[in-house]
Symmetry: C2
Subunit: 244 residues, 2 copies
């Protein structure tokens, strides 16, 4: 979030004066037909009005009228391990950050571990964990911050729970078949799961409820990371920031 | 956080025009001595410049120059149970919220329990818990949000840890003797602690390291809640928002 500094007010005053005095001088010239007087009046106006404009800006800085509170959203990326959630979410976050119009935070199942203690991967633990993530998002949204979140979040029930807790929840289903995910698996997590070394592994030894009506479906077998990120970014702009 | 709406730009244009056209008309009148022409030129200016001003505002809305990123702070209220931390912190939060210039969040040992699971009151648990609080504050500050936090936080070590993790950490020592706190104890927590029903109770069965150099010391045996809150609020304004 930003504060309007005095420097900004001054720069605006000068920039405005350029356009405004030009207009005034032309108006006077058209009315009186005398360029010398038109320019003289313009010069006087130049000096006086820069000061008046500056004070006008400072005054408006105290007035809240017409300032619209930002409506924060959540981009919730769900999908199998290795479907591409994190990498696409990272890219979307980068784009939104660079865009600069809204405050935005990134939450990933990995970074969240420092804040929220690790718990198990059984159904109840996953539910509790994502409920806590929901509380965190709520705190952020209360302060106008939107969130890019990526979690396997395999159960419809838990995704719905976060959806209910938060505002403008956008479910983004990052789709890839288990076979594709296994092919992409550079860390060998699927291998370990298939060998039984990892319990409750989504897609192997635990269910994944495919979203029935996601706001956005990204088929990563057909779309590149860049294309997927663009789709999400454009969706956000169209849906929430038409007015900018 | 807020967005500058088109309505705001329009209202500013109209408000500006009132002052500016008045100035122009006076300048023309002084130069040419003809009130009729001065008013006619003023009227033409009125119409043209409202449009030019509006466009100028919209243009500046895309420009970031002179917008200063808000420097978020933490007001960290520490003190014995029943010293008055929570009630003073609540009042300060209310004041800052009403002030409207900065985004502000309130964190209390009580509300935080939904997000961060309850852990014990032994030294290690307290340290871990406050470290997590520190991580949460860091996330909020990254998004320009300042925090009003109230925690017993009895150990110097843990307070220093949060201080190091965060920006503009203001330690506020809410002072009251154990005797005074016992007198204020409407819930009987001290009684339970003295009877041995509560373990590791700060001030009874666990140490409280008094802050050696707190930024603000509030002696609640001498100051009312309102006075204490005013002191903190004025401190924040003086230290961080001289320019507003």
């Amino acid at each position: 979030m930003y504060i309007e500094t005095k420097l900004r007010s001054l720069l605006k005053a000068i920039s405005w004066r350029f356009f405004a005095t030009l207009t005034t001088t032309i108006i006077i010239f058209v009315f009186f037909g005398r360029l010398d007087l038109a320019i003289a009046a313009g010069l006087i106006e130049l000096v006086i009005k820069i000061m008046v404009y500056f004070l006008h800006e400072r005054l408006w800085n105290k007035v809240k009228i017409g300032k619209k509170k930002i409506e924060p959203f959540v981009l919730w990326f769900t999908g199998l391990p290795k479907s591409g959630k994190t990498v696409i979410a990272d890219k979307v976050y980068e784009k939104l950050k660079k865009w600069e119009y809204i405050p935005i935070e990134r939450i990933d199942s990995k970074d969240i571990r420092d804040l929220l203690p690790e718990i198990g991967f059984d159904r109840e633990s996953r539910k509790l964990h994502l409920k806590r993530v929901g509380i965190l998002i709520k705190i952020l949204q209360k302060n106008s911050i939107s969130v890019v979140a990526s979690f396997v979040s395999p159960y419809k029930e838990t995704r719905d729970c976060v959806k209910e807790m938060t505002k403008n929840f956008i479910e983004i289903f990052v789709k890839a078949s288990v076979e594709t995910c296994i092919k992409r698996d550079d860390k060998g997590v699927y291998k370990e799961a298939l060998e039984g070394k990892r319990k409750n592994f989504t897609g192997v030894s635990d269910d994944y409820d495919e979203p029935a009506n996601p706001e956005i479906l990204l088929d990563t077998e057909k779309l590149t990371i860049e294309e997927s990120a663009d789709i999400v970014f454009e969706y956000v702009k169209k849906r929430f920031y038409k007015d900018l």
